[in-house]
Symmetry: C2
């Protein structure tokens, strides 16, 4: 009788971080694609663009002039999604069991948003930056995290969680090619993060162990989903990956937040991020789009929050088959559940085999 083949037969995998399922249909990768093509990237941008509002010395929409920064540069987002001050939300009949209180639940959200320029050079991306320059980015993230935590403690600022992320490439809604990320700091813990904290807490309660301690152990044993590792971090295509070449960067030992990083861990993170993004660019010989971000402990975390926090980064890249053909997470994915067209093991194998040291543009 025929045997079940994970690289051919459909199955669902469980994501223990978000408590949800993903449909894996490996044979679907064979179907022809006649739909939308992404724009191919133009690798010939100048190192300085007089029209870019992120380049050193240029003027922003608000009239503010950027300094002539030489490494990283952080400033508050001119179109912040949340603000530090706003009037309190009226709570008229709160507490009463009205239909409105049952169905229209609402919270006010204050906070602040920042833009983080990774480099003064307009035409660089993470894989093209020097490792030492990436350490500056990690330093900037660490300083921001610590500063926000202090402002919350000492100045009663409405800051509870800072979501650090990067949208890279037009396919991921990025509107400026200048290398930059963002940090949105809110007085509430965002849904996705609080779901993860809940899952880690549940796992600890049920198994008296850290989910990520067990996960790191298992992935380093199995090795089929492993993409990269060094002393401090491992990168795998998670068992429950949704995006075709999704990866997760996990610290091998428990680190609750970037605040605790020592120099060695910073070097190791810079090195493994550079290698991962080099592999990504080499995969389809294009500037690989993605959204990526850090999940870690809330600011001034409670004991329980600290217990349930473990530094990791998610990379969500949309490309599926080539520089111009992406995966769309649409109809079935939005209404039913996420669906993928190749197994995480297949994706990991391709990423593992790619050169992580030399970027394809250097070879041209």
């Amino acid at each position: 009788a025929q045997q079940f083949d994970f690289s051919d037969h459909s199955h669902r995998r469980y994501n223990p971080l978000t408590d949800s399922w993903i449909l894996v249909s490996p044979h679907r990768a064979k179907r022809p694609w006649l739909g939308q093509q992404e724009a191919a990237c133009k690798p010939n941008a100048p190192a300085y663009d007089p029209k870019c509002y992120l380049c050193p010395g240029n003027e922003r929409a608000t009239g503010v002039q950027n300094p002539n920064y030489e490494s990283t540069y952080i400033f508050p987002n001119d179109y912040a999604a949340v603000k530090i001050d706003q009037p309190p939300l009226p709570h008229n009949d709160l507490g009463r069991d009205t239909l409105k209180n049952r169905l229209f639940k609402v919270q006010s959200v204050r906070g602040n948003c920042f833009v983080i320029c990774f480099s003064p050079k307009h035409n660089l991306t993470i894989p093209q930056m020097k490792q030492s320059d990436l350490v500056h980015v990690i330093n900037a993230w660490q300083k921001l995290y610590n500063d926000l935590a202090r402002e919350a403690r000492e100045d009663q600022k409405p800051f509870k969680y800072v979501q650090i992320f990067e949208n890279k490439g037009t396919a991921m809604g990025c509107s400026n090619l200048h290398p930059h990320g963002q940090a949105w700091c809110l007085e509430a813990i965002p849904s996705e993060v609080s779901q993860e904290l809940k899952s880690f807490g549940k796992y600890k309660h049920e198994h008296n162990a850290d989910l990520f301690a067990d996960y790191v152990k298992l992935e380093l044993e199995e090795k089929t989903r492993l993409v990269l590792e060094n002393d401090s971090f491992m990168i795998v295509v998670p068992y429950w990956a949704v995006w075709p070449f999704e990866t997760i960067v996990v610290s091998k030992k428990k680190i609750a937040s970037i605040s605790h990083f020592d120099q060695k861990q910073k070097e190791d993170l810079a090195s493994i991020m550079k290698q991962l993004t080099t592999k990504y660019d080499n995969l389809f010989e294009t500037s690989f789009p993605y959204s990526m971000g850090i999940h870690q402990a809330p600011l001034n975390a409670t004991g329980e929050e600290l217990n349930n926090s473990w530094f990791h980064m998610h990379f969500y890249p949309p490309l599926l088959r080539s520089a111009t053909v992406r995966k769309f997470l649409v109809g079935f994915e939005l209404l039913g559940e996420p669906q993928r067209d190749l197994t995480p093991e297949q994706a990991a194998e391709r990423l593992r085999k790619l050169d992580g040291k030399v970027h394809y543009l250097e070879k041209l």
Copy 2:
């Protein structure tokens, strides 16, 4: 003192269907957009395209020839995400508390996938179809639902839930402009649907009432999010909408599934769908992209499943500002929580004011 203004100040709203939160930042709609532009649609397609694999009489990738259908036409997807037969999943050490059993949870999934051509005419879309032709589409959905339920009961087919949906437009991953939808039928209830069933069950348990009975009552009283209504259905931009012009079509009285629709309800659904999609097209004078689909009772539902099921449809359209500028649900949205740039009330007001009877192309 300044008052809290929902159309200016940031807040989070709770989605009781999926038990998650959405960040609303209305003032962000003012930021400039320099990012990706969607392709404008070409309204001059022919009624018959010899190269289209969905047009009547044409040959598909598999060599099968389509019949000369004159109304709707259903066939099994040539690249189905799930199949009726596959070998069983081996369960070697199942039940033992190993790390693998804790962290690598997996299920086999069988089922079948279908393509549903809405019309033989290659260049029509739902708003351009006659109401009587849309009733044929609803009849096709009903027949498919009933047939699959019967095959599960009588022939032990692995069918438990059928997800009916449409991806419209290249921005939503549609690769063929010929008007068509899909139906993916699985032996498992997809994550999103099972989360909704759970939420409806919880609401019933806590309040001894149907969530949608209360919701319909409240929205018809408030009217600020109402877009359309008729005897059988209402359409609102839900209080917790994520996509800019997201809507939900809810039956006013409890109907567990399309299987129970009578002729009047079919006419009413056809009419309200035609009006909604006409408004959508008129909003930016373009063929408005969206993913939409039906949530309803599982096939051969248990008593509890039936109790917790209430027919509704979700429309998830990506456009935000114009025919070419969409909302990207990326970095913060993927890592933190969904974020929107206008309030559901603002979106509903714009949709409400638009013509739902005459399509902009008819006026040209």
